[in-house]
């Protein structure tokens, strides 16, 4: 069977398969997942009452969540083709559109991710002073001054502190939604069989949380905190691997288009980079390194963390590009 366009249609990004989402969207998904992961840990360990033992996880890491989300949003907006109209995104709330509720989730999470560290500003100040980072304490002190001077910010932050448990629960829920969203955004598209599977949401959440733990592992100077994160991360990697295998098994059991989608990773053009680079270097190698570290081997702390972070980004790049290649109608 020969199948071709009888009339030329050289529209960018449509042929031979849809190709309109590139690195900015992959990075956006990665950053969303990373921020979600960081905030999930902060909320959980706060709720578990372990903020003292895990100061970095609960108080310091969330400082990065807001800029990470902002960077993600910037990339999303950067990728819009009708940028001047971006405000339309915030004139509508369309629960059926992942792009819409994702944007709103991002807004909500970004507000919390900003308030969370602000509510801890005193502890953060202490944290910095202890480490002698005097330049940065200038910032925290300025914030403290500002807060005390102005009534409305003061009231907001005070209320936040007061109901922090409640807000922690909300933050946890929204962070999980954000993590899942990064997967649902793709899996909402039936037109791309690779994306169209229910595992993508949990898989992206797991991967996002894993990158969050890696982030803590990488930057925390608390050995215990790092080891705990390592242990958690190992189980996350195990879950991720389980999801990945399960995902492909599900596709193999599906209709022809799903088989074809899975085939891109099982013998097709993405096989080597997916299994070799992402699974091998981005999951199994850091898993092994973490296991060795737990057994007392000396491993440069940043190595497994950075591998996981890079792997997380690569995973999203692969899923975004392969997903767009997976279509019902393919052109030769």
């Amino acid at each position: 069977m020969e199948q071709l366009l009888a009339t030329d249609r050289h529209i960018h990004g449509l042929y031979p398969h849809v190709d309109i989402w590139g690195f900015p969207i992959s990075a956006y998904l990665f950053l969303g997942g990373l921020a979600a992961g960081i905030l999930v840990f902060a909320a959980i360990y706060y709720l578990l009452g372990r903020e003292k033992e895990m100061p970095f996880t609960v108080k310091i890491a969330p400082i990065f969540a807001f800029p990470i989300i902002m960077l993600g949003l910037f990339l999303l907006i950067f990728d819009l083709h009708h940028k001047l109209f971006v405000w339309q995104l915030f004139l509508a709330a369309r629960p059926e559109s992942p792009m819409s509720w994702g944007a709103w989730t991002l807004v909500i999470v970004s507000v919390f991710s900003l308030l969370w560290p602000l509510s801890f500003v005193d502890s953060i100040d202490d944290y910095l002073i202890k480490r002698g980072w005097s330049k940065m304490t200038k910032v925290t002190e300025a914030i403290i001054k500002f807060e005390h001077k102005w009534i409305i910010p003061h009231f907001i932050i005070m209320s936040f502190r007061k109901y922090r448990k409640f807000f922690a629960v909300v933050l946890l829920i929204y962070s999980i939604i954000l993590g899942i969203y990064t997967g649902i955004l793709l899996s909402a598209f039936n037109a791309h069989p690779l994306w169209n599977n229910p595992i993508l949401g949990p898989l992206f959440l797991t991967s996002g949380v894993s990158t969050g733990s890696a982030f803590v592992m990488w930057l925390s100077d608390n050995h215990k905190e790092r080891l705990l994160m390592s242990a958690i991360d190992m189980s996350l990697i195990a879950i991720e691997l389980f999801f990945i295998v399960h995902m492909f098994m599900g596709m193999e059991a599906g209709a022809e288009v799903y088989k074809q989608a899975a085939h891109m990773f099982l013998g097709g053009e993405f096989t080597a980079v997916f299994w070799g680079v992402f699974v091998g270097l981005g999951l199994i190698l850091p898993f092994t390194l973490e296991a060795l570290e737990l057994r007392g081997f000396h491993i440069p702390t940043a190595l497994p963390a950075l591998l996981i972070l890079a792997g997380g980004l690569l995973f999203r790049i692969l899923m975004v590009s392969a997903g767009q290649m997976s279509e019902y109608a393919m052109f030769p």
């Binding site: 050289h10 109209f85 059926e96």
Partner: protein, 746 residues
């Protein structure tokens, strides 16, 4: 205002019907402030101007619609036009691009560089025409007025034909003859005493069976043919297609005979053999209206299906079967005459075989066969008697080619060659609206002739290759910017159609009538141009046929009732315009002139080892090279791919989309490569290349260098003895995967 209201209505209802989400975005006034959405102007209130399409020469009548700013928006068919029935083809619809093309010729130009080199100086119309007149006077002094020639095409032609006739030059020819349908006309005139002209009087809408021989209707988008074929298919009619390629028509046919190229006459003779010997021909019709049946019967005895099978590579069973099918549905069977029939150098005989087959089936003058068309011909605007030239094209063409019913471009060109030493020397040439570099085969000869001329004037809208050989280029306004002669076609419904200017000519372009008249006046031919504006001519002519320019501007097309019957009245005597007064199955003229009185199959050249038959044809979106640079149509099809069978592709190791160059049997190599389409639709012994691509004119910014040009490969030209038409399908090509120009290119 209507539009705005309507949009509001839709918006509100959309919320009601869609209403699935919490949409707070009813704030469209905010966004409307930024930028309004433009709804196309309704056809019912838009201004429209009647036009007659000139993108191809089917010449459909249509309406050009203007947008809110009085710019050209679109062109649609005129519903009462019998050529198009309100529906244009893609090229007609894309005619807007002809007007919009920024690559158009903009100002008159005079050559500075050597011939073939595109170096020109922009001049005023006065200077350009003075230059032409001076040169023409020079030629006249040395060689006489007869030494001027005109090669033309389309509706521009008549303006210059008139100029030439008034001036006293009679070397007039168009590629539409020798390169296209002269052989077909000759074949039918010889048989029926009547030609077919355009549109062909095929009564396909009433037919039950249509036989296409290498006629790729559907890729060849002559509108009426396509519409009629589609109608026939819808009615459950049978299409039989004979083509070495699985053409679009073949794809829509009940029977496809993938014939070996060049062997059509063998098939046609075998069909006659079956139809005669099985006595399934229309006996009464043959008896009553034909001459020479017994001679034909004897003649075809040896041409059995088995004999033809060996030649055509078809099966004898298929030949028999299809003969029976077409005879079974006769007389509502049309063996289609085709249009471009200058193929093998025996095409008058080939189309005569088609004509004879139709006669055996009794389809000529019958419902569902060929009808008798009628034409409304307004008289010429009164003018003094034209001078009689001492010699014309007839003097050097007719003796050799008795059926040359019109000027033969290639023979006119022969008389401009430096080696021509006879008395009919051509020294100056006007070329209007035809790119003879692409349309007349043997391009090297054409170039030598052009370089030997004292004056070459090109009148065109686009800077095609031929403009590079001109001494003076005159930029013509496109059909959307000018009046032309009325369309007065032969048709089932007698009719006239008006082409009125839709837009003002862009830049300094001028309508053909204006250019010809200006030259005429400067040549001292004022008395032939007693009018100032072509509107006067049209209005006068229209008033002679019961209408006026004013009325025609409102209706575009006027239909008249038919005076003569459409078909043969079986109860009356019918006299054909031949020597015998009958359909000549045996041509008495041909017998007298020494041509074969009945078609004979002659062997054609065989492809050398490693070479393939070059089959050229069309893509439906383009009219030769006329449209390949048209922005709309270029958008639709940038390049015609070279069709190659998968087996051939495998041998050469070619991948789909790869570029290959062509080399023909004489070692001629294509300038540009073609992208390959690997397809089962072409036989492994042939390749297919759409015509009109591979332009070498850099001024055609889009199409320049896109694809290889079939014309470059046409070096083996077989002249049809009866007409002088050029057989162009005796050329073979091989594929070059490496760039053959790599070392030569500068």
């Amino acid at each position: 205002m209507d539009n705005i209201n309507r949009r509001d209505f839709i918006k509100i209802s959309s919320v009601a019907t869609a209403g699935m989400a919490l949409t707070w975005s009813g704030t469209s006034f905010v966004s409307d402030l930024l930028k309004g959405e433009v709804v196309p102007l309704s056809e019912s209130i838009a201004k429209k101007v009647p036009t007659v399409c000139e993108v191809c020469f089917w010449n459909c009548a249509g309406w050009a619609y203007l947008d809110r700013d009085d710019n050209l928006q679109k062109i649609k068919g005129n519903a009462i036009d019998p050529h198009c029935n309100g529906r244009l083809c893609p090229r007609g619809t894309g005619g807007v691009g002809m007007y919009a093309d920024e690559d158009r010729l903009k100002k008159p130009m005079i050559r500075e560089g050597k011939p073939g080199e595109q170096k020109f100086r922009e001049v005023s119309w006065d200077e350009a025409i003075d230059h032409i007149v001076k040169k023409m006077k020079g030629i006249e002094a040395k060689h006489g007025r007869e030494a001027m020639a005109l090669l033309h095409h389309g509706k521009t032609g008549p303006h210059f034909e008139f100029l030439f006739e008034a001036y006293g030059s009679g070397n007039i020819a168009e590629p539409a003859g020798a390169q296209c349908l002269i052989t077909r006309e000759a074949g039918f005139i010889t048989t029926y005493g009547a030609g077919l002209a355009s549109p062909e009087p095929t009564d396909t809408r009433n037919a039950d069976c249509l036989v296409l021989i290498g006629n790729h209707i559907g890729e060849n988008m002559h509108n009426g043919h396509v519409q009629d074929m589609s109608h026939l298919i819808e009615q459950g009619g049978t299409v039989i297609t004979v083509d070495p390629r699985f053409s679009t028509a073949a794809g829509h046919s009940k029977y496809w005979l993938p014939i070996k190229p060049g062997t059509d006459i063998a098939l046609l003779l075998a069909w006659m053999n079956v139809i005669i010997n099985e006595e399934i021909y229309d006996k009464e019709y043959v008896e009553k209206y034909t001459y020479g049946f017994d001679l034909l019967k004897d003649h075809v005895q040896k041409y059995t299906p088995e004999w033809a099978a060996a030649i055509t590579t078809l099966s004898a069973a298929d030949i028999r079967k299809t003969a029976k099918v077409m005879a079974g549905l006769a007389p509502k069977t049309i063996v289609h005459p085709g249009r471009h029939t200058a193929w093998y150098g025996d095409d008058t005989q080939r189309t005569r075989a088609i004509a004879i087959l139709n006669a055996l089936l009794g389809s000529w003058g019958r419902v569902g066969g060929f009808y008798f068309p009628e034409r409304i011909k307004p008289p010429h605007y009164p003018h003094p008697q034209m001078p009689k030239p001492k010699w014309t094209w007839k003097d050097y063409t007719k003796e050799k080619h008795k059926m040359a019913i019109m000027g033969i471009t290639n023979i006119v060109i022969d008389h401009a060659l430096p080696e021509y030493k006879g008395k009919h020397k051509i020294k100056g040439m006007f070329i209007t609206a035809t790119n003879i570099i692409q349309s007349v085969p043997d391009v090297e000869k054409t170039k030598r002739a052009l370089q030997n001329l004292d004056l070459v004037v090109v009148v065109d809208t686009m800077p095609s290759e031929i403009t590079g050989y001109a001494d003076v280029i005159l930029p013509e306004a496109t059909y959307l910017e000018r009046y032309d002669h009325l369309r007065t076609s032969h048709h089932k419904v007698p009719n006239i159609a008006l082409r009125a200017p839709v837009m003002k000519p862009r830049w300094e372009t001028k309508p053909g009538w204006w250019i010809a008249r200006e030259i005429g006046i400067k040549l001292g031919l004022e008395k032939y141009y007693p009018w100032k504006d072509f509107e006067e001519v049209l209005d006068w002519q229209l008033k002679q046929v019961g209408t006026s320019l004013e009325e025609m501007k409102k209706i575009g097309v006027k239909r008249y009732s038919k005076k003569k019957p459409l078909y043969i009245n079986e109860n009356e005597e019918y006299w054909f315009n031949t020597n015998t007064g009958k359909i000549e199955l045996y041509s008495t003229d041909f017998a007298e002139w020494g041509y074969d009185p009945m078609p004979v199959y002659k062997e054609k050249d065989e492809a050398p080892v490693g070479f393939f038959n070059l089959i050229y044809g069309r893509v439906p979106m383009h009219t030769f090279g006329r449209t390949t640079n048209n922005p709309n149509l270029y958008d639709l099809k940038e390049e015609g791919h070279l069709w190659v069978h998968p087996k051939v592709a495998k041998i050469y190791g070619i991948e789909s989309g790869q570029e290959v160059w062509l080399k023909n049997q004489d070692g001629k190599i294509s300038t540009f490569p073609s992208k390959v389409r690997i397809t089962q639709r072409i036989s492994p012994t042939s390749v297919y290349l759409p015509h009109g691509f591979g332009s070498k004119s850099k001024k055609l910014s889009r199409t320049y260098g896109k694809g290889s040009a079939d014309y470059e490969m046409l070096t083996n030209i077989k002249i049809d003895p009866e007409t002088g038409g050029t057989g162009m399908r005796n050329n073979f090509v091989t594929l070059l995967t490496e760039n053959p120009h790599k070392n030569i290119e500068s």
